[in-house]
Symmetry: C2
C-alpha cells in the first residue's frame, strides 16, 4: 500500500480556462479520500482514474466556494447511482446545514449513510485513526476559519526473520505472539530472544500535509514538520505580496520557505490565481527557495 495523490483541480477562486478550483484525491490501497471538492470535480473523477465508489471520506478545509461547490453535486450523484456504502464528510459545522437544506429542497433521502464530522477551526485534533493511519486537522490562517489536514501512515510491526520462520515453521498464533514482543521457545525448551528473531519492517510510513488557503505563517511548522509531501497554496508570486497579505493567501516563494523551514521532502504548489495562464514562473520562484517543488496541474499523479 502506498499513498498516491491525484490533482483534480488546482485553480483558485474562479475557474479559469480548463482549470477548476481546489480538489484532490488521496488514494490509499482500496480507499480514496477527497480533499476539498470544487465545482466540476465529479466530472473529472472518471477521466483521472478515480473510482467514485472507492471514495470513503471527504475533507473540506473551509467554506469558500472554490473548495466545496462541487460537494453537494457529488453527494447527489452518489445517491442517484444507488450508493450503499457509508460516507464520511469532515468540515465546519455550517457545511452540514448547507448539505441538509439542499437535500431537503430536492426531497432527497440519501441512499447511503452520510456521517458528518464537525471539525473545529483553530484546533489541532485527531479526526480519524485506523490500524494503518491517522488523520489530523490543524489550523491555518485565512479570512474565514480554515483547517489543514495531515495524513500519516503508521509504522509496521517488526518482521520475523526469514531464516527463523524456515527453520522453526511457527504457527500463526506463535508469530502473532512474537510480533507482540515475546520471545520464542522451541520444542526442546530452548529460548530464542525476540530481538534475535525479528528485524524492522522495510515499510516506510509516509506523511502528506495539506494546507489549502493560508497566509504565510510559521505556526503550521510543528504540524507539517518532516512531511514526505507538503501541499501549500501559492496563489500569487512575490510581486503580488501585498495582495497576498491583504487576501490572506501566500506566494510561491512563501510556500517554498515554509517547505524549507519544515524540512519536508517535497513541496506541491497550487491554488494559482486566474491571472497566471502559465504556472512556470510560480514554479521557478518556489524552486529558488525549495528545489524539490512540484507545480500542481490537473490530472497529475504523485507518489507521496
Amino acid at each position: 500500500m502506498s499513498l498516491q495523490l491525484v490533482v483534480i483541480g488546482c485553480g483558485s477562486a474562479t475557474p479559469a480556462g480548463n482549470r477548476i478550483s481546489s480538489s484532490f484525491a488521496l488514494k490509499k490501497g482500496n480507499e480514496v479520500f477527497l480533499i476539498d471538492c470544487s465545482e466540476g470535480s465529479q466530472m473529472r473523477l472518471k477521466p483521472y482514474g478515480i473510482r467514485m465508489n472507492k471514495i470513503s471520506r471527504i475533507f473540506i478545509s473551509h467554506l469558500h466556494g472554490d473548495h466545496y461547490f462541487g460537494l453537494v453535486g457529488l453527494l447527489s450523484t452518489f445517491h442517484l447511482f444507488g450508493r450503499k456504502d457509508e460516507l464520511h464528510v469532515y468540515g465546519h459545522s455550517l457545511l452540514k446545514e448547507i448539505i441538509d437544506i439542499q437535500m431537503k429542497v430536492g426531497n432527497t433521502s440519501l441512499s447511503y449513510p452520510l456521517h458528518f464530522h464537525e471539525i473545529e477551526a483553530e484546533k489541532n485534533a485527531l479526526i480519524y485513526e485506523d490500524d494503518a493511519m491517522t488523520i489530523e486537522t490543524f489550523p491555518l490562517i485565512h479570512s474565514i476559519p480554515t483547517n489543514g489536514f495531515l495524513f500519516k501512515e503508521k509504522g509496521r510491526p517488526l518482521n520475523l526473520k526469514k531464516d527463523f520462520v524456515k527453520t522453526y515453521n511457527p504457527s500463526v498464533d506463535c508469530m502473532q505472539s512474537i510480533k507482540e514482543g515475546n520471545d520464542f521457545m522451541d520444542s526442546d525448551g530452548h529460548v530464542l530472544l525476540h530481538k534475535e528473531i525479528t528485524e524492522p519492517s522495510s515499510f516506510k510510513p509516509k506523511i502528506f500535509a495539506y494546507c489549502s488557503d493560508t497566509v504565510y505563517t510559521e505556526t503550521i511548522i510543528p504540524y507539517i514538520k518532516g512531511a514526505d509531501l507538503l501541499y501549500h497554496e501559492a496563489t500569487f508570486m512575490d510581486d503580488m505580496l501585498y495582495a497576498a497579505k491583504d487576501k490572506l493567501h501566500a506566494t510561491a516563494s512563501q510556500a517554498a520557505r515554509i517547505a524549507a523551514t519544515a524540512e519536508v521532502k517535497a513541496l506541491l504548489i497550487g491554488h494559482y490565481s486566474a491571472r497566471y495562464a502559465s504556472i512556470d514562473p510560480l514554479l521557478e520562484e518556489a524552486k529558488r527557495f525549495f528545489p524539490n517543488t512540484i507545480a500542481a496541474e490537473e490530472g497529475l499523479v504523485i507518489e507521496v
Copy 2:
C-alpha cells in the same frame, strides 16, 4: 433584435461524459437570460460565446440539483469579478435560503445588487415585462414544485410610411404622436389620416417556451400553444415509459406529441438520461410524431 437560444447543458440528473445537466442561455439583443444553471455551467459560458456581464436574469425551474447546482458558483464568480450591475434571480422561495447561507459562510457581501423574485409553484404568472417582451411562468408536473417559463416578444408599433417621412420630414415628437395613433396635419392645415401614413411593422415577435422537467401533461398546452420554439424534456424513450411515469419525466415521443398538439413551430428536446450515449434514437422517436424536432447538444445555437 432576435431571440437566440444557446444550449449550455442538456443532460439529466448526473453529468455523463462531456454532457452536463440542464442549462440554457437566451440571448435577446444586449441581454442574456440564463434558464436553469447546472454544475459546470459557468465554465462553458466563454467557450459558447456568452458574455458573463451580459447575464441580467436567471430563471431556475425547480430545486433538483441538476437544474441549479451551478448557480451559487456563478453568483460568486460575478462577485469576484467585481460585477456592479444588478442581477435578477427567479426561483422558488427556498432557493434564496440556499444562496444566502452559502454567501454567509463565505463571509461574502456581494459586489452587486441581487434581486430575488420568488415564483409560486402551480401558478401561471407574469414575472417580467418591458417594452419588448413579457416573461411568464406556468406550472409543470414533476416530483417537486416545478415551473416552466414563457418568453414572449411583443409586437412592434406600426411604421410610418417612407414616402410620408420623405415628403413631410416630421419631427420626432410628431412621429411619436402618429405612432400613438394620431392623424397628421401639415403646415397648410391638411389632415392625413393615421391609417394612410402608417403600415404594419415587418417584425415578427417570437415565443420561446421552456418545459424543464415534467411528466406528459396536456395541462401545459394553453401556455405553450403556437410557440416558435418549445423546449420540452425527453429524459427517456418510449421503451422506458414506465420509468418516465414513475419519475415524472417524459419520453421523446411524448414531448413530440405535446409539440404537435400545441402546434408549435419547432421542438427542442433534451434532459437525456445518462443511459443514452447517442441521442439519435431519441431524435428519431420524436420526429415520428413531430418532424421539426431538434436534439439539444452542448454549444448548439438556435434562432427562435
